[in-house]
């Protein structure tokens, strides 16, 4: 059966649109970070040029705290991911294997409460955090980021654990396993995919987040997005090359990560929201 011409045309148009819309802006920025400054201004943008690391040199010389903020972003994102996954496996397991009215109500609370706008809690947290000397600390950022993803994480893990036959639990229990052993030996290994799916969301969120980082960090725990926003704002006559270099260093690892685990991203989103 031959495909009608209109359908071929539509497909071509959509594919072209997707390439220009999603990929081209990102590629242009990364590519331009290797161009000499006059080359950046060239129109149409050149695809062939002699690459330079000039902007990367300037970045690491003039913004020494950029490396520090990258390290902060990595530490905070990894710790938030670990905390979220552990909390989510435990909660996901209970919601999958136990039933009860109170439990259903707490699941409802879990899903509903995280829909509140994060900015609302910054106002009351600010003085508390200062009083507890937690302002500008890695610990605070890890807690904040985990809090906003334990709900999705628990929903994702519940869905994945639902897929593990309960006969396996029973077999393990008959063999004398305690519930903790059951979790470690059966549930955790068999829900590994769900754990990866949950990790993708927290990690990407924590690595990229701006609002909390902007309000709660100043120096010690400052993250990469905050320092990039300062580069964008503070410069009179923007140094585009520098900005592109910083943006590229920040985005390339996480874009590569998302592409690598895209299968889990899709599985996690559908498990966390549609199937519920």
């Amino acid at each position: 059966m031959r495909e009608p011409l209109s359908s071929v045309a539509l497909r071509t148009a959509v594919v072209a649109f997707v390439l220009v819309w999603s990929a081209a802006p990102v590629f242009l920025v990364v590519l331009s970070s290797f161009k000499e400054t006059p080359e950046i201004f060239a129109y149409p943008p050149s695809l062939v040029f002699s690459p330079t690391l000039e902007h990367y040199r300037t970045l690491f010389q003039k913004w020494p705290d950029f490396v520090w903020t990258l390290r902060n972003s990595a530490v905070i994102a990894l710790a938030a991911t670990a905390l979220t996954v552990v909390a989510s496996v435990l909660a996901g397991y209970v919601y999958s294997r136990y039933r009860g009215r109170g439990l259903a109500a707490s699941a409802l609370f879990m899903v509903a409460i995280r829909l509140l706008p994060p900015i609302v809690i910054t106002l009351p947290l600010y003085p508390v955090v200062s009083a507890l000397k937690l302002a500008d600390s890695h610990f605070l950022m890890v807690i904040l980021y985990s809090t906003f993803f334990v709900s999705l994480g628990s929903l994702i893990l519940k869905t994945f654990i639902d897929g593990i036959p309960e006969e396996l639990d029973q077999a393990a229990t008959i063999d004398g396993a305690t519930e903790m052993q059951l979790l470690r030996r059966v549930i955790v290994p068999l829900s590994a995919q769900g754990m990866v799916a949950a990790s993708v969301f927290v990690f990407v969120y924590a690595w990229n987040e701006y609002l909390f980082a902007f309000i709660f960090t100043t120096t010690r725990a400052k993250t990469a997005p905050v320092v990039i926003s300062e580069m964008m704002g503070s410069l009179t006559g923007v140094d585009w090359g520098l900005l592109f270099a910083a943006a590229s260093v920040q985005l390339v690892p996480v874009v590569a990560f998302v592409i690598l685990v895209q299968k889990f991203l899709i599985a996690g989103l559908t498990a966390g929201s549609v199937k519920g």
């Binding site: 439990l103 409802l108 809690i121 985005l251 592409i259």
Partner: protein
């Protein structure tokens, strides 16, 4: 069925503890604060609904509210439309499918800050390729810094760009899960492309569209970073959205009571949207004694 007891409660504790300590208690405090007059160095004093009255009579609040409602509707429906179109084409098969999916998902990995850098650059009249291409076509310059309509338009565009992957995934996954046999039998019964789309695809993906809509309404309602980084609400407070208004009341003008009242307005509006979602989820998920 196993009995829920203390060990199970302990297993829920990390998740529920975080939610209670970091979201529920502070939100309750915000509610209390919204009925008090408070600033740096002065103890809160009860003022009843005065803060709500004050923001009700503040034209900048209304400007922020209207901006928020207009922008989130543009974002949510713009995204839905694009996601729908792309998913409908992808589901029939595209060349290099895995690669193309990666391309669609790419903006999901980009931070709001970098997205603002990217679009500011593209639309900069001196360097931006997009600005130069538009000038070549005789189109006007996007004056996002001085023209509030352009500013909010660009905010919407960046937001759609960042969140299209989310909406796309939900709709694409739903389209993939519509059973192929339904299309087969429709074709045998003589249904055309449009008819099978109208009578099979659409009803099949409606639940997912609904979930995507509600989710995106709630998330778009939080809109802060794109506006803050692009216009900071200017010029002359014309591009503020509710989150920016709240931030300024609380942290710039140190009027905590009014900030809190704004916060509680935001909580109620998103609560209303969330209630619809949770109601549906609850009915389908946790009540069912599977």
């Amino acid at each position: 069925m196993r009995k829920f007891g203390l060990p199970q409660f302990a297993m829920l504790l990390p998740t529920q503890g975080l939610l209670v300590a970091i979201i529920a208690v502070p939100s309750a405090y915000v509610l209390w604060l919204s009925f008090n007059e408070s600033s740096y160095g002065s103890a809160p004093s009860f003022v009843g609904f005065a803060n709500y009255e004050a923001i009700w009579n503040d034209r900048y609040f209304w400007r922020a509210l209207v901006n928020t409602l207009v922008v989130i509707n543009i974002i949510v429906y713009g995204e839905l439309l694009l996601a729908f179109l792309i998913a409908a084409v992808f589901v029939k098969g595209v060349p290099f499918r895995r690669l193309m999916l990666a391309v669609v998902l790419m903006p999901y990995a980009i931070s709001e800050v970098v997205a603002v850098v990217i679009w500011k650059y593209l639309l900069d009249p001196n360097v931006g390729s997009l600005a130069k291409a538009m000038a070549g076509l005789g189109l006007p310059e996007i004056a996002w810094a001085t023209n509030p309509t352009h500013g909010l338009g660009l905010v919407s565009l960046i937001s759609i760009w960042l969140h299209l992957p989310f909406t796309f995934i939900l709709i694409y996954a739903a389209m993939l899960s519509v059973p192929r046999e339904l299309y087969e039998s429709a074709r045998i019964d003589g249904a055309g492309g449009w008819q099978s789309f109208r009578h099979i695809t659409l009803p099949g993906i409606m639940p997912a569209v609904f979930v995507a809509l509600i989710f995106r309404y709630i998330l778009a309602f939080r809109l802060f970073s794109e506006v803050w980084l692009l216009t900071s609400g200017g010029p002359a407070r014309t591009t503020e959205v509710l989150a920016i208004y709240l931030y300024k009341q609380s942290f710039t003008y140190a009027s905590f009571g009014k900030g809190a009242a704004t916060g509680w307005v935001m909580v109620m509006v998103s609560g209303l949207i969330a209630a619809v979602y949770v109601h549906l989820l609850y009915r389908r998920g946790f009540r069912r004694d599977a």
